[in-house]
């Protein structure tokens, strides 16, 4: 991940982005054009940096990659901590500025953020709508379900509505699990 730092104003808002010179190549510089004239706030921050660079740089901080990715994805700290199965205070510690976080920790967090984003982008589907589209096929197939005869008898005695409609000849002795046939066809 590219290193980026910020110079902030008095209220902690980032005003300037700092990138290592090695990453800011002449070609990159030629491509970049200012999108707007410099504002008073930017100009003031730049003045303070020139007058007292040490003071101003004290407010600069390296962006924590976990926090940056989480905030960019619009995920709360609570949700990410929950998904990572760690406490929120622990995630908060991992997200502290300038904190050295293990690469594996960052990878796991970024992976979780990607997963959450992916899940949230999935379409909402009306289950009732889909099932009604299947019509009578579901009820008919439920009656074909194979079961252990003892299980079927117990369920019928307990009034299970599905077992009551099942055919007697659909039998799966011993409740063996369904699995693919072996390669030799047995």
């Amino acid at each position: 991940m590219r290193s980026v730092g910020y110079i902030t104003d008095e209220e902690g808002r980032p005003i300037f982005a700092l990138v290592p010179v090695a990453q800011f190549t002449p070609a990159t510089r030629r491509r970049l054009k200012p999108v707007a004239p410099i504002t008073n706030a930017e100009s003031g921050a730049l003045d303070r940096l020139l007058v007292n660079p040490a003071m101003c740089l004290e407010t600069a901080f390296l962006v924590n990659p976990i926090r940056a990715a989480r905030e960019a994805a619009g995920i709360t700290q609570s949700d990410l901590a929950f998904a990572l199965r760690i406490s929120q205070p622990m995630l908060s510690r991992q997200e502290q500025p300038l904190r050295r976080v293990r690469p594996g920790t960052v990878t796991r967090a970024l992976e979780a953020i990607r997963r959450i984003q992916e899940n949230r982008s999935r379409p909402t589907i009306s289950l009732e709508g889909v099932l009604s589209g299947y019509g009578n096929r579901l009820a008919e197939s439920a009656a074909r379900k194979s079961r252990d005869p003892i299980e079927r008898r117990l369920l019928r005695e307990a009034g299970d509505p599905v077992a009551l409609k099942e055919r007697e000849d659909s039998v799966r002795q011993g409740g063996e699990r369904r699995r693919p046939p072996k390669r030799n066809g047995t």
């Binding site: 899940n119 889909v130 579901l138 307990a158 369904r178 699995r179 693919p180």
Partner: protein, 203 residues
């Protein structure tokens, strides 16, 4: 006081207290599977989601339950009735198709109605479990239940799409899962998609 937050979005399930007591006493890590696990994830108990029994994968036998104080009038192999609810202990281990789960890989805690928590097959695994009905017995209801679990849970923060992709392949359900995944991504699963699923089989 804040209420506990559960992984995924489970619906509390009714389990006889006597059975939960026995599991605790016998230190059994029983995992709820089958149609009851589907109910937990879909949140419906009617129609195609109705089921009259509770299935648990555990090392326990019905005779062990008797030792823990559960009244067992008669044993029927893997079956017992507790507080008028039929309980089945399907043959273990916890597996789907040709893939046997690593311990702890496929279960998560869910709430029981009476206040305690129980282990339950996680929803991704529950989807694959239902797809074995489709591959093995060409049952439409299995596909509908798999779809129901996925639709109800796949937007949750915990849903792990990479995990289900990988396990589906190992279980011999790769093609069926890819088909269902495609239908889900389209946002409009169809009856034609159901018919196609029934022809896919294992692999």
């Amino acid at each position: 006081m804040t209420s506990r937050r559960w992984h995924y979005a489970p619906t509390p399930i009714g389990v006889p207290s006597a059975l939960l007591d026995a599991f605790e006493q016998l230190k059994a890590e029983a995992v709820l599977v089958g149609g009851s696990a589907v109910q937990v994830w879909v949140g419906q108990r009617e129609g195609i989601f109705a089921t009259g029994d509770l299935d648990f994968i555990t090392h326990l036998s019905v005779r062990d339950l008797a030792k823990a104080g559960i009244h067992v009038e008669e044993t029927w192999g893997r079956h017992v009735v507790v507080d008028a609810i039929p309980i089945e202990f399907p043959t273990g281990p916890l597996a789907v198709g040709s893939y046997v789960f690593v311990k702890g890989e496929a279960s998560t805690l869910v709430p029981a109605i009476e206040g305690r928590s129980i282990l339950c097959l996680r929803p991704e695994a529950s989807v694959l479990d239902r797809l074995t009905w489709v591959a093995g017995d060409q049952l439409e209801v299995g596909y509908a239940q798999a779809l129901g679990v996925a639709v109800s849970q796949y937007r949750q923060v915990d849903w792990d799409g990479d995990w289900i992709d990988a396990i589906a392949l190992k279980a011999g359900l790769g093609k069926l899962w890819r088909h269902l995944k495609g239908e889900l991504a389209s946002g409009v699963p169809t009856e034609k998609g159901l018919s196609r699923a029934l022809k896919i089989g294992w692999g």
